[in-house]
Symmetry: none
């Protein structure tokens, strides 16, 4: 979607009642509770998909709130073990206090990773907006020296990403590569969707050539195609990489990836802090935008 | 912009009062005088950009007019030296008589290059419309044998350009590569913007692989991206190439190029012969086109 279109949708979402946002966004979220997420992941596992659990929430207001995140993610770890789910976890550093105090956030995240390591469960540190890019990579690289069950995310829309890839490859990183969804200034992020795709392909090849385990996270079939091409070109084994998609997006593309013999992991968010996540999802969905516009513009 | 769109704008510009053209085009031109250009280049230099000075004017009516160009370019050379500007000069062969007499034009241009060489200042021979392509390359290659401080320009929209590149690479050329802005018949020039871009990328890689010093002259961010990719791929040093943009176009893109650590040279035209240059610039600017249309179509 174009940047202007995105900005229009973000603007319109401001006028949309929260209940309506929630209704449109329901498909992207497992539900309010961990039990909802467990049920959904069991179903995905039966269909041959892996999952990553995400506790909704970000940008806390004080460090006390981070305790909730630590405790809830530990419950996630326990649920994965108890229910023998084929799943790992993804967490947002700002939910652990990165906006307030880096060392507190690091201690909080370490606590989750330590718990997960007991059961050999992998932890993905999500990447948020560009205010946190450097801090998140630094945090990740420090934790990486202590733990092997940790990875982070690279956003192909950032102009810095190729250089970040080149710099980090020697450190045996594990990355999810996505386009990126936050609203960033043109000085630091590609706005042209053609360039975002070209940069995604460039960075992906750099990572695969550098023997990085990559989560190829995209709903763009052109990039799925490019991912499959690179998997063949570099003769990767089935477990040397994975495709990733968000819950609620393009079930046909899921089937296409699975039928082609690749592993696919779904990002499964749950919880009651659904608003920020939902608005980011909705602005990617042109059909939803059309619904919103129709609702806002219809008389009466 | 599409060719039809371009032709429409060229047509509409014919109805536009010259004063209005000038007002819209002011941002693309340093001013009427050499002093205007000097002041502007000092400012660009302070901001970390290099410049190339251009004395506006082209297609003279008799060879006597060429004396003006020779004298004015010598004043440019003196100004660059006196003010220690990080700048070189760009000149149009038709302003030196190429349309009347090749050998007179060559003698005139030689006089400027000789003067510039005393101070180690580089001279770029601009490329004009396709009537002059062969004559300009031949002129350049003759002068190249006498002087090392001279280069010319290749236009990626011309179908012949890739072959021209292959032919000239062994002669240690120095080229600015641009898309090209003149209105050319389809038989000799690509009209499809996708093909112009593909040909630009093809020719650029041919030149860089052939160790040619290239001025990567474009405002198309996709080509800037391609330029940066090739610079990395062929591991060019910072002084093995430069990016180039015209004065008045896309300041954000300037910053993007500079922040990525590349050298950038701005094309700085000055003088009172601003009409032909301005109409070529305006037809590239869709916002200006909208203004013109609004002005022409509004009632009263």
């Amino acid at each position: 979607m174009s940047s202007l279109f995105n900005r229009t949708i973000v603007f319109l979402l401001g006028f949309m009642p929260k209940a309506l946002v929630r209704r449109f966004a329901a498909r992207y979220i497992a539900g309010d509770t961990l039990q909802n997420a467990i049920d959904l992941v069991k179903d995905l596992n039966r269909q041959g998909m892996m999952a990553t659990l995400d506790v909704l929430g970000e940008e806390i207001h004080n460090l006390a709130e981070a305790r909730f995140a630590v405790d809830e993610y530990k419950r996630c770890v326990k649920a994965i073990v108890d229910h023998q789910l084929d799943a790992n976890i993804s967490l947002k550093p700002t939910q652990f206090g990165l906006g307030q105090d880096v060392s507190v956030a690091e201690a909080n995240i370490r606590e989750v990773i330590q718990e997960a390591r007991k059961f050999n469960i992998f932890v993905r540190i999500d990447m948020e907006d560009s205010r946190y890019t450097t801090a998140t990579y630094e945090l990740y690289l420090r934790l990486k020296r202590e733990f092997s069950n940790v990875g982070t995310v690279m956003q192909a829309y950032l102009r810095r990403s190729h250089q970040d890839a080149v710099n980090m490859i020697p450190q045996h990183i594990n990355l999810r590569l996505c386009k990126g969804i936050y609203v960033e200034p043109r000085e630091i992020a590609y706005k042209d969707p053609v360039l975002v795709n070209q940069n995604y392909a460039l960075v992906l090849e750099e990572l695969i050539r550098g023997k990085v385990y990559v989560g190829i996270a995209t709903h763009d079939e052109r990039l799925v195609w490019e991912g499959m091409r690179l998997v063949r070109k570099y003769q990767l084994g089935r477990k040397d990489y994975e495709f990733q998609m968000l819950l609620g997006v393009d079930k046909e593309l899921r089937d296409i990836i699975l039928k082609a013999g690749h592993r696919l992991r779904l990002y499964v968010p749950y919880g009651n802090q659904w608003y920020a996540y939902s608005t980011r999802r909705l602005k990617e969905n042109p059909q939803v935008a059309r619904h919103i516009l129709n609702n806002l513009l219809k008389p009466g």
